[in-house]
Symmetry: C2
Subunit: 221 residues, 2 copies
DNA sequence: ATATGTGAATTGATTCACAGCG
DNA sequence: CGCTGTGAATCAATTCACATAT
């Protein structure tokens, strides 16, 4: 596990893994940095450099084994063992994620769900019984929870995070549009579509088609 | 609109804007790069450098006007005018997004929804009438659509993207876990929670609590 | 002949120190 | 005096050229 790997490299490795999975599913047995680069929309240099952080996985002159490189990437990314996931916050999004069928496909197992609403505690939503968030520490130890999906309302985010941290959970997938504080041993990845939408506004500002006086779309000025 | 702004800066501007909105809502009238930095979990240097790409918005010795800086960031990010959004792909996620109440709060207006499924075309899902995806080009011109939310099944992603591009839409918020190809005048922001989850696995690999033989959690080795 | 793996060069982003203004 | 704004320095990431292996 080398140090100093750019986080952009980790993101790209996830993309390469998806491309390799598609290739393997399509029955392709060998590939190259060129092909991976095209599919991932990066350069072949970048693909090779990204892989070089972790070792040498190809054969000079003939490229990479699709299956072999896929296994290596799964190992590098830590996707060869099942991760045990809990959802914290069973509102609309939490319930939708509980229902999401493809989680298991990728060795992520939903093992618990939590909410502070007594109306929800004890009910089964999306196939899991909802427990009270105060049970987090006990349940995390019993159920060996690795990852929490944080899907609580924004004002509750930090308090819920503190409970997750106190429970010894080291990974948080944060769906709440706010920055939460955690000790350094806890890693937080954020998924925030409103933030992505606002970035998009920045990039297309001034590019959006302009309608001229006759109602015809013309290029931006 | 300065060139060469790091994309990380754009992401952080979105965070600063959220912090400023919270501060304004809380009735705070002035702030500083230090306060913004703490809330956004970056350094004060970084805040000032990020803002410096676009101008000078503070007062030396006394910091920033919360309201003033918030307006500047809204202007910089292109959030002072309404953006017209269409959803392409009215499956589970598309319907959930159509139902999402907070879009309008941020000057994003849902103006149309598309699907290829004849069963869905003509129905009203999440408050919008669903049109056939082949109507995209016509509708985009009539309704002046700026942004498409891409929420189609993965195998349909590129074909749907091509229709979006042909319709003259310049911004795509891509929820599909794949890389789509677009001409350079179209900007794509990707929201992929499975990718974020896999990155998380990488970072916590080796950090996850280890259970010793007596069933007690101990630090990772 | 061909495509990988990698050190060197370049480009880009962040950090810093302090000059500049209120 | 305090806090912003910014050029210079450091640090990090990407690009490139080519040596290397099959």
């Amino acid at each position: 596990m080398p140090k100093g790997v750019p986080s952009a490299t980790v993101s790209r490795l996830v993309t390469y893994l998806r491309v390799l999975t598609d290739l393997e599913r399509a029955g392709v047995s060998r590939t190259s940095s060129d092909i991976l680069a095209t599919e991932a929309q990066v350069t072949a240099f970048q693909v090779r450099k990204d892989l070089a952080y972790f070792g040498s996985f190809g054969t000079r002159g003939s490229g990479y084994s699709v299956h072999g490189l896929r296994q290596e990437l799964r190992r590098i990314l830590g996707l060869t063992r099942p991760w045990r996931v809990a959802i914290v916050g069973m509102g609309r999004l939490g319930q939708a994620l509980a229902d999401f069928p493809q989680l298991g496909e990728f060795d992520f197992e939903l093992v618990a769900a939590f909410d502070v609403d007594e109306q929800k505690v004890g009910k089964v939503l999306g196939g899991v019984e909802v427990r009270h968030t105060d049970e987090l520490a006990r349940a995390a130890a019993d159920l060996d929870i690795d990852i929490a999906f944080l899907t609580v309302p924004t004002p509750a985010a930090q308090a819920a995070t503190d409970k997750v941290v106190a429970a010894g959970i080291v990974g948080i997938l944060n769906f709440v549009p706010t920055v939460v504080s955690t000790p350094p041993e806890v890693w937080v990845e954020t998924v925030d579509f409103l933030a992505a939408l606002k970035r998009l506004a920045y990039y297309i500002k001034g590019r959006a088609p302009v309608i001229d006086e006759s109602g015809v779309k013309v290029g931006s000025t």
